[in-house]
Symmetry: C2
Subunit: 284 residues, 2 copies
């Protein structure tokens, strides 16, 4: 399937991200349908012109009409949905997702699908601290990164199709990583950072500090308002990689602690110089 | 000294913060003078109307003319300056500072000053990732926090005077803490966060990740471009309190690691719920 204007696109899961995909694709002129168990989300999306039609159940009519489907579900729910309904798509349908972990999802989904229905994983690295279709906003994709995670099962056409979806939605940088590379990267840049933000809030009762915080503390804890159901699942589904990153980080922070305890000014300065030098790459 | 419009104010140290004080006070109509060993900083400030006059040395004429002096120096340099030149101020002069650590500075400075010259410590919690007079900008004070750190030696008048300085410069919230309370708070909200940001950059060579980072990683590492001379000094001068905060944080992060390793989903969710609940206080 190419991205031609009369394509029929099914979104499964109308939360913040699914809703933002729906908004963006509807605005671009596609026919967008949705499935979500939450009746309120479906009717809100219909009433606000975000989708043409929708259902609270895995309606075979909507599934069979789709030229492409985008899954915006929790990882475990996604895998279960595919096992139950994945064989109902018509041959040639392309499927993709928005899941934040890949290795434990992509292979299982590909294995569960019949021949002729291709799934190509993707991770749009965008979000907000609020959730739900009512907060959906396709502008969160602008300037964000989008990662396609093909396996050996994927065709070059599906990979290209998935990259075009990212481009159409306005992502700034489209990258291709294996599911394993993706999970290692995400364990560091996203999951470890969320662990740190949460830990800053839980390590002591800091509410009395609200009047004294500068920007640094606010920056480091912005993401500590966290959807505990989604993030505990993401952590657990990337357990091995995240544990590795946590160990690396704890070891390095303990090393800085040792330098401070030993009053090793030069050692501390070396760490800071390396940090400044590396961070400069991220400001270009 | 009250904040009357013909007051003569000496700024010692014309970096980013000293320069921003000078700009703000000059704009408010005060007569502002400065001492800084960097001839270029002094002439830049004079040429750009940031100060009326300045010197690269501890010029007794400038010192004796001051009704008030503001010290924006590294902590150790500040203490040394006071020991060498503090007795040259005229009686009744009020001194304050901008130093980011308090216990190890405030008492020593007060002890070194002759009777009749009062020092009241303050910490403007504002900054930028760039330094020097050329980046000075009094707008960094707007909406920032300002903390006055009196000791038993201070008069109510000096405390009020110091608070008014913060109000005049536009700080949003003016607080009073003892030097010890200040250092404990700053060990957590500022120094620990800088340790974490630096550690995120040094724990592995992450430069290849620049294309994959979302906002979380950028937020958590914004402050990792760090002035290593100043921050190593701040860490060392608050060693005991910072070590305590690092230990608290490492212990709590290790606890989260244990929950993840044990696949304790409910335990992880409890931490996240607590985090969300506490962080909400910081968004009001």
């Amino acid at each position: 399937m190419n991205w031609i204007s009369n394509s029929e696109i099914l979104i499964v899961g109308l939360g913040l991200i699914g809703g933002s995909y729906a908004k963006g694709l509807t605005r671009l002129g596609y026919h967008v349908y949705a499935i979500d168990p939450d009746a309120e989300a479906v009717s809100y999306a219909k009433e606000n012109g975000i989708i043409e039609d929708g259902s609270t159940e895995a309606d075979p009519k909507l599934i069979q009409k789709a030229d492409a489907a985008i899954f915006a579900l929790y990882p475990s729910v996604f895998v279960r949905w595919i096992k139950e309904h994945g064989n109902q798509f018509k041959e040639g349908t392309l499927l993709t997702d928005v899941t934040g972990v890949k290795s434990c999802v992509v292979y299982e989904v590909q294995k569960a699908l019949p021949k002729g229905i291709e799934f190509i994983g993707a991770h749009p690295m965008a979000g907000r601290e609020v959730s739900g279709i009512k907060n959906a906003d396709e502008r969160i994709f602008l300037n964000a990164n989008y990662i396609v995670t093909p396996t050996e099962q994927n065709t070059p056409e599906a990979i290209e199709w998935c990259k075009s979806l990212g481009k159409l939605l306005g992502f700034r940088h489209i990258a291709v990583l294996s599911p394993e590379e993706h999970d290692e990267m995400i364990g560091f840049v996203s999951q470890l950072t969320h662990c740190i933000a949460v830990t800053l809030m839980t390590c002591n009762d800091n509410r009395h500090l609200v009047d004294y915080t500068g920007d640094s503390f606010r920056d480091l804890t912005r993401i500590s308002r966290i959807n505990e159901t989604m993030w505990s699942e993401l952590f657990l589904m990337n357990k091995a990689k995240l544990l590795e990153q946590m160990d690396l980080f704890i070891r390095e922070l303990s090393e800085m602690r040792t330098l401070l305890e030993a009053e090793d000014r030069e050692g501390l300065k070396e760490k800071m110089k390396l940090s400044t030098e590396r961070r400069a790459y991220f400001d270009n």
